[in-house]
Each structure stands twice: as C-alpha cells, then as structure tokens.
C-alpha cells in the first residue's frame, strides 16, 4: 500500500531543483540551524550565480558562508555579514552585491512572502537615507513609513530537528531562528532533518511548521564544519 503524503527523498533527488542563477532562501543564524548536507551538495553540484536570501552570511567555513567563499553568489539579501569577512571583501570590491535589511524587517519581509502578502509597512528605517533609498513611503497618522517588499525564493532550504513524512517540523532550541519563516517563503521547500519519523507520529501540539509548507524532506548527516567556539 502506498504511504500517504510521503515527501522523504534522497539528496540526489532534491538536487534536481537547483540550477545556476537561481534564488535560494536559507534558514540559520550564524550557521546555527543552517542545513549542512544541502549546502555541501549545492557546492558539489557547482551551482553558481546564486542570489541568497537569509539572516546573515555565516562564517567562511560555516553554514551558507561556504557558498560565498567559493564565489558562487552574485547577490545577497541579508541583515549582517560581519562574521564572514570574505563577504565584506567581495562587497567592497564589487564582486558581490549586498542588500541590507534590518534583521527583524528582513524576517518580516520573508514572512510576508511566506504568508501570501505583498509587503509590510514600517516606520523603522524611514528616516535612514541608506535604508529608505528607493523605497516607496506612506504616511500613517503622524508616522512616515516605508513599504518593504515581500521576499520569496525559487527554493527554500532549512534544517529541522525532526520531520515526519508529511513535513511537519519541530526545531532544536535556538536553531529554530529563521527556519520556520524560511519554510513558508519558498516556492519549493526542502528540509534537511536530523530525524525523520513516520507520518503523523509527531504530537500535533508540538509541531512548529505544518507540513503543508514543505515539499521535500532529506535525511541529515549532521554538521560537517567546526564551530568557531570549538577552535578556542
């Protein structure tokens, strides 16, 4: 009998969704909660000219930062790149475009993309010449606000502690960070999960991301980099 709603696939099958010039949204904060196996596979497949959307650019050898270090990225939309000096160098030398959004505004732009909205309105950054540049403004009561457009991506990649076969997800502590938002915002969402369990075997009260947002689940082999704090 065919299993219902089974989204579990091999890494090879998941890689069929990646191509040059695409937009990828990724989960994670300083590499914590980024999907190690998917990032390694994107590197190995040689995908290039990527537009990346996510909180930050990790570290040169940790998380999404590896794609930047290997010059696979033409543009980044993020809030912070300080932990990856290579990103700063590529930006300053004009080899990679970087668009900054304040961290929580970025999260809301991704969330808007994930919940079918066209954008958000905020006072944050409206009086800042860099942040407001080129953005439409609107006045609400006494407040001058900017319109921040929603963000989506061809593919979203994220990391979960546990997934069932339908893609219902729970996360691990602070590795949750942007992952539930990224899960909703992709046109095609691929989850790398530490543990995969049968359909319906996660307690419904504990599910953070309902499986309807998820298209594929691949098993994780765990983190394959050394954390900055492990080197001390």
């Amino acid at each position: 009998m065919k299993k219902p709603y089974n989204k579990v696939v091999s890494m090879e099958e998941a890689m069929g969704h990646f191509f040059d010039g695409m937009t990828i949204m990724f989960g994670g904060f300083g590499g914590v909660g980024s999907p190690p196996g998917l990032i390694t596979s994107i590197l190995e497949k040689g995908i290039k000219n990527i537009t990346l959307i996510g909180n930050d650019t990790g570290f040169p050898d940790i998380g999404i930062g590896q794609l930047i270090k290997h010059k696979r990225v033409k543009k980044v939309i993020a809030s912070h790149i300080g932990s990856n000096p290579i990103a700063g160098e590529l930006m300053s030398s004009g080899q990679m475009e970087v668009e900054f959004s304040p961290q929580g505004i970025l999260a809301e732009r991704m969330r808007a993309g994930g919940v079918g909205l066209e954008g958000i309105i905020t006072e944050i950054g409206a009086d800042n010449e860099y942040l407001a540049e080129g953005k439409e403004t609107i006045t609400i009561g006494p407040k001058k606000c900017v319109i921040e457009t929603a963000l989506t991506a061809k593919v979203s990649i994220l990391y979960a502690k546990k997934a069932d076969e339908f893609g219902n997800l729970i996360y691990d502590k602070s590795a949750r960070n942007t992952n539930p938002i990224v899960a909703m915002a992709g046109e095609w969402t691929i989850v790398e999960a530490e543990e995969i369990v049968p359909f319906g075997s996660i307690c419904a009260e504990e599910i953070i991301t309902p499986g309807v947002f998820v298209d594929m689940v691949v098993p994780s082999k765990g983190v394959n980099w050394t954390w900055a704090w492990e080197k001390q």
Partner: protein
C-alpha cells in the same frame, strides 16, 4: 582590538549597574556580552537574544556546549528557568513592540544628539545593519559601550556622525574607557570618570561638546579589583 581585559571589565561592570531587577535586556556582541559576569547573583533579569531566546543563561562548562543553543554571536549559552525559544520574527516582534527594557550595544560613533553609527565603514569594514536599528529605535533605554577613541586616536564621540547612521537620536547613555555620558535634550552630560583620568583628559580626547554633571562620580581603579 588589543584592548586590555581590565579596560573591558570596568566598562562591562559599569554597564551592569544599569541593569535593575525584573528587566528584559538585550546584549550586543563584544563587551556588552560580558555584563552578566558583573551582576549580583540575586539580580533577577531575563536576557533576550534576537536569534530567538528569552531567558538566556551563562556559557556552559567546557565540553557541555550544545551547538544548537547559541547566542546571536554564535557562541554557546544555556537557558535559565522560565526561558523560551521562538523564531526570529517573534524575537523582533518583542523588540519593536517595546518589551525590551534596555539594550547594551557597541558602536563606531555616537553623536552629541544620540545618533548611532555602528554598521559600516564604507570601503573598509562591513559588519551589516543587523538588529541594531530596531533595538536602538524601540528599546526603552539604549546604552552604548565603546572605546572613547578609535585605533588612530580619533574621538568616537562626535558632533555629528561621519559614518552612515544605524538609527537617529536613540542613545541614552555612553560608557567609554574614560567615563560615562548621559544624552539629554541639550546634548551630552559627563556623569562618571574612570580614575586616573581627569576632566581635562576627557575634553582633550572628545570632539563632541559636553557639559558636566553637577556631581561627577569618580570611579576608582579598585572598581574591578578581584575580577
């Protein structure tokens, strides 16, 4: 930046004095992250981290780190009783809605109007705007902890910022390695001086104008003895 441990400690300990019982506090990376080390153990405070933790605790003992329990700087932490985890959008919901009583953060420049510039040195260094814009705009109290001068000896307290701004008119207090300033409507007020520095020393190293508090506190060098 080659800054001595004693200098970092006195700034962090002075910042810790601002943390009162019952506060929700967000700490930036660097010296601000050292302030919990200087809180009395009976102080009840919840630290919020913008990557999705409320009730963040101290660093774990060596070899007991959890790679999926880290602060916003990516370093392992623990969770205190009553703590919770949430996504980044919720973390910034708390921040923008005004639930953060105080944020303590670093900066590259602060103007005498309280403008904050801490995200880019064009052509040189690009930390990125991060969460500082929202924290600075919406936290009830914004405390900047930074060295008084940059590595070339230039004042980081300026009449008006030369670097691109992170947020306007948001800073309430500045703690440097020389002293402490409050930002009021009229400008900067020097309230504390770290000994052995003098008012004359501080005037010489400060581009911004400032007035003197009626009662300046001189903080002795013994402030961090035994730390």
């Amino acid at each position: 930046m080659g800054m001595g441990k004693a200098m970092k400690s006195k700034m962090a300990k002075r910042a810790a004095e601002e943390i009162k019982d019952g506060m929700i506090v967000n700490l930036g990376i660097g010296i601000p992250s050292l302030t919990p080390d200087f809180l009395p153990s009976e102080r009840f405070v919840m630290f919020q981290a913008e990557n999705g933790i409320l009730g963040m605790g101290s660093s774990p003992p060596l070899m007991q780190e959890d790679e999926n329990l880290c602060n916003a700087g990516g370093f392992p932490v623990t969770l205190n009783q009553g703590g919770s985890y949430f996504d980044s959008a919720t973390a910034f919901g708390m921040i923008r809605k005004g639930y953060i009583d105080m944020t303590i953060l670093g900066s590259l420049e602060v103007s005498e109007k309280g403008d904050l510039a801490n995200w880019i040195v064009p052509g040189k260094r690009v930390p990125g705007i991060g969460g500082a814009t929202e924290l600075a705009a919406r936290a009830k109290k914004v405390v900047v902890v930074m060295t008084h001068t940059d590595k070339n000896g230039n004042s980081k307290l300026v009449k008006s910022c030369r670097l691109p701004l992170t947020s306007r008119r948001c800073v309430d207090m500045i703690i440097t390695d020389l002293g402490v300033f409050q930002v009021v409507d009229e400008g900067l007020v020097l309230t504390d001086i770290f000994e052995p520095y003098t008012i004359a020393d501080i005037k010489e190293k400060t581009d911004a104008d400032f007035s003197l508090s009626e009662q300046i506190r001189y903080i002795p060098e013994s402030f961090i003895e035994g730390v």
